[in-house]
Amino acid sequence: MIAYIMCFILFLVGLYGVITRRNLIKIAVSLSIMEISTFLFFTLIGYIDGGVAPIVDPTDPVKVYVDPLPQALVLTAIVIGLATTAMLMAVIIRLYRKYGTFDIREIKNLRG
């Protein structure tokens, strides 16, 4: 249970960072922390105490296997997360070239 709570705290740490940080890069890092906490949560769901990797061994029928599906899902989600992070970084670099700063308080053209 403690692992799940830690994972939720990690999510909140990321959320806190997204809300309070003023540096664009730090916001992106906080977003990645949230992402990682979600992935951790997914892997924890599939984990079974004492389980081994799910490569079925017919000679030992009582062996306990962990759930392989969340692992497959997390792999997919990590790839997606890579794409979003790369996209975000590309936009941040472009923003830096336009404004010459990473401070989000300086970037406020759109209002209303």
Partner: protein, 512 residues
């Protein structure tokens, strides 16, 4: 097994790939190929619209049959509700792509534009057709990432800022959705929507269930820009190139936001009255606040973007009223009427909001500004744009012969019959304010005297743009035919039946 269903995802994805490869060698390949691909998809989707009816088509990817009647493969599902949304996506997508043929000359890198456009369409089709939660997430991310890139396509400071804001809030929404999916998998050990429904119906923990519902609602609510989550929408939709604004506002927020909320809350969760009241309240708040935020805007695309929030509020409110009645189990015919009003307005909004954004793009294309104060007198020099935008403005504000009137009328009648008099009154008031706001748009853009001397030698936009606008305005008028009972029975009623019947969706998928 219907082999045509996966084509909606395969063709756009393959199209994006081919555009990047062949587009390098052949100059004009990208624009005509995209339009051709989307025309083909539109034809297939209309074929499905006329053949689906009450049937539910299931395609099992890779041919994985269920074991012990438990689904183990990926399912793609086409039913009465998803077919309507697929038709909207591909039709508006085709018209926007055709419109882009002239419009996109303002930008460089046409190949990237059309490849991202195809990915956007493929992702949205996947979200709508997917039968399990994790694929909804994957396709959602495909379409959302391409929309991030398309919003920033101008790479000026405004576009980049809007895209950054959109990416932060969109990323937050994605993680909330992923968390929700994780919780659902934890509790049910399955990801298939029909199977989750069956698994939940055999008992669940109330607190966890509520937590999952809140996670899913806030995640997809962020994507649909319902009011407390709306901050990104006016920036993103006004900064994108105009055909993309038409796609985002006309289709995107419906396909990845409203559609998934309606689908999951009707067909996956058991509807509880508290959640139904919450959804109705969110819809009403977006309807009212959206229009008040819109009325002070002088940038046409920002004005239209705020009206999108308000009009989506109508849809959510109306579906929410239906949800309340279904959860109480009383007056099923009024519940169907309310849901019919919501779905009808969803279709109508795609047509007229797409058209309005194309008009805004045409104005920007000719005079190079989006500020209403700098326009004027365009009615003489741009007759087609003026006429089509007049039709769209009258549709969105609910003036009788056009489609918006009938859907708003159905929504208001349903609210009155369900004894939600306050909501009916608010719907009427919001409609009047919408009319005022669009009269302002018409007057300043088209009928005022021009105070700008360079506006004298402007001409109508090129043929592809005119064609798309004229077709959409014809659709705007034709859609009012949906109010005739026979046509409504053929198109809207199967969608309503699948939503209001609590077990039809899950049982008919699980037996196939």
């Amino acid at each position: 097994m219907n082999p045509l269903i996966p084509l909606f995802v395969i063709i756009p994805l393959a199209g994006a790939f081919l555009i990047m490869i062949i587009g390098r060698f052949i100059e004009e390949f990208n624009k005509y190929f995209t339009s051709l691909v989307l025309l083909l998809l539109t034809c297939i989707s209309f074929y499905f619209l006329f053949t689906t009816g009450e049937k539910i088509f299931v395609y099992k990817v890779g041919g994985w049959e269920p074991i012990n009647s438990l689904p183990i493969g990926i399912y793609m599902v086409m039913d009465g509700f998803s077919v309507i949304v697929v038709c909207i996506i591909n039709l508006i997508g085709f018209l926007s792509a055709f419109y882009s043929i002239s419009y996109i000359k303002r930008y460089t890198a046409g190949n990237y534009f059309y490849a991202l456009f195809c990915l956007l369409i493929g992702g949205m089709n996947g979200v709508v057709l997917s039968g399990d939660l994790f694929n909804i997430f994957v396709f959602l991310e495909i379409s959302v990432i391409s929309s991030y890139a398309l919003v920033a396509f101008g790479v000026e400071s405004n576009e980049l800022e809007a895209s950054f804001k959109y990416q932060i809030l969109g990323g937050l929404a994605s993680f909330l959705i992923l968390f929700g999916i994780g919780f659902i998998y934890w509790k049910t050990k399955t990801l298939n929507i029909a199977d989750i429904k069956a698994s939940f119906s055999s008992g669940y923990n109330k607190t966890t269930y509520l937590f999952i519902q809140i996670l899913i609602l806030s995640g997809f609510g962020l994507k649909a820009a319902i009011i407390p989550f709306h901050a990104w929408l006016p920036d993103a939709h006004s900064s994108a190139p105009s055909p993309i604004s038409a796609m985002l506002s006309g289709v995107f927020i419906k396909a990845v936001g409203i559609y998934v909320i309606i689908r999951l809350f009707f067909n996956m969760f058991a509807i509880s009255e508290g959640m139904a009241v919450l959804i109705t309240a969110l819809g009403t708040v977006s309807m009212v606040i959206g229009v008040f935020l819109a009325i002070g805007q002088w940038d046409i695309k920002r004005l239209l973007a705020y009206h999108s929030i308000s009009q989506m509020g109508y849809v959510v409110m109306s579906v929410g009223i239906g949800m309340i009645l279904v959860s109480r189990g009383t007056k099923p015919e009024i519940a169907s009427l309310a849901i019919a009003g919501g779905l009808f307005h969803l279709v109508n909004h795609a047509a007229f909001k797409g058209l309005l954004f194309l008009n805004a793009g045409a104005i920007e294309y000719t005079i190079g500004t989006r500020n209403l104060k700098e326009m004027g007198g365009l009615a003489k020099s741009m007759p087609v744009t003026s006429a089509t935008s007049f039709i769209a403005s009258m549709s969105i504000s609910g003036v009788p012969p056009f489609n918006g009137f009938f859907s708003k009328l159905i929504i208001i009648i349903a609210a009155v019959m369900a004894k939600f008099y306050l909501l009916a009154a608010l719907a009427v008031i919001v409609s009047i304010i919408t009319l005022a706001s669009f009269l302002k748009f018409q007057r300043y853009a088209f009928f005022n005297r021009s105070n700008n001397s360079k506006n004298h030698n402007i001409r109508e936009v090129p043929f592809p743009m005119v064609f798309s606008m004229v077709v959409l305005s014809i659709i705007c008028v034709l859609l009012s035919l949906l109010v005739i009972p026979e046509i409504r029975d053929a198109i809207l009623t199967p969608a309503i039946n699948i939503l209001t019947d609590p077990v039809k969706y899950s049982t008919s998928i699980l037996v196939q």
